[in-house]
Symmetry: C2
Subunit: 155 residues, 2 copies
DNA sequence: TTTACGTTTATGCAAACGCATGGACTCTCC
DNA sequence: GGAGAGTCCATGCGTTTGCATAAACGTAAA
């Protein structure tokens, strides 16, 4: 493999390791009430959009299989945190939106989680590093969305 | 929250999004044979050490609960990919090491996965960006471990 | 219209997960 | 040396996940 390829793998392993260590650290904190981090992730994603979201759209932001997401939405709706309405424009689809309770819950947990993230990340990285990390990761994130099909075919 | 805190959260969300998109892309590829990515992760981690690894040590590298990891080790041992031996120096402990089959399997899959990572990541990032990403992520990764012992360095 | 095919979400089922806990062992301090 | 506390791994149990597939709807061509 090329030198550049090795560097890419080193960087990716670093990202994975940072992800794992930070996630564990965040999960250990006592701020999640009766939600799992995955469930919070769903609420957070919904909170970012004013328009109701389709399940498929949600699935592109959350690392979860479609059936698992479907059932998680079930449970969250059961608990009164979000609502599913049939999509008037597409009879197959479902539109998801947070209830007031769901929005409150997301905000309450989100405030503490954001503080937690800020503490953990700013403790280790300078302002320049934060900016570099953000720019690079969002670039990578965009790539994952656009390269989906071109990556599929290959020996 | 401070401007720096907001930047930290933006960077972290970018990292999460990049992680999710890349992971999905990697998982979709048909290179994993009959392993899950989590199982491969265990084999890969073991492959990096010449000495047998304790389960607890393994757990610090893999984002999985201790019982889940214990059972995964069970299954991998059952399938002949790794071996568990009692630790002579600590009666509670177990020492894990890859079998030859396990090592072969890891190498075969690892080659393709590394190529996959190199393709996906180098496609989007310059050499400088790769180096910045690696340096920053490994710094963050180290931060997550700071609370406890300084561990053996990576090969 | 009818047929065939793609898309979006839901369900059956076995496998895997996390939490709580237990048993075996080590360590510390008296 | 022995009691109490801590560490390491395994197991019971209810919940969640992924895979395969079905069901409902949309789209386009015959």
């Amino acid at each position: 493999m090329s030198e550049r390829g090795r560097l890419a793998n080193h960087a990716w392993e670093g990202l994975l390791t940072a992800h794992a260590r930070m996630m564990r650290q965040f999960a250990d904190a006592d701020i999640w009430q009766d939600l799992s981090m995955r469930e919070y992730d769903v609420l957070y994603t919904l909170s970012k959009y004013t328009e109701p979201l389709r399940i498929g759209e949600l699935g592109r932001h959350v690392l979860l299989s479609q059936p698992a997401l479907s059932r998680m939405v079930d449970r969250l709706a059961e608990r009164g945190l979000l609502e599913r309405c049939p999509d008037p424009a597409d009879g197959r689809g479902v539109r998801l939106s947070l209830t007031d309770t769901g929005r409150d819950t997301q905000r309450r947990i989100g405030r503490r989680h954001a503080a937690q993230v800020a503490r953990a990340v700013t403790a280790e990285l300078s302002r320049d590093e934060l900016q570099q990390l953000a720019a690079i990761c969002w670039k990578l994130a965009g790539a994952g969305a656009t390269n989906e099909d071109t990556e599929a075919e290959r020996p």
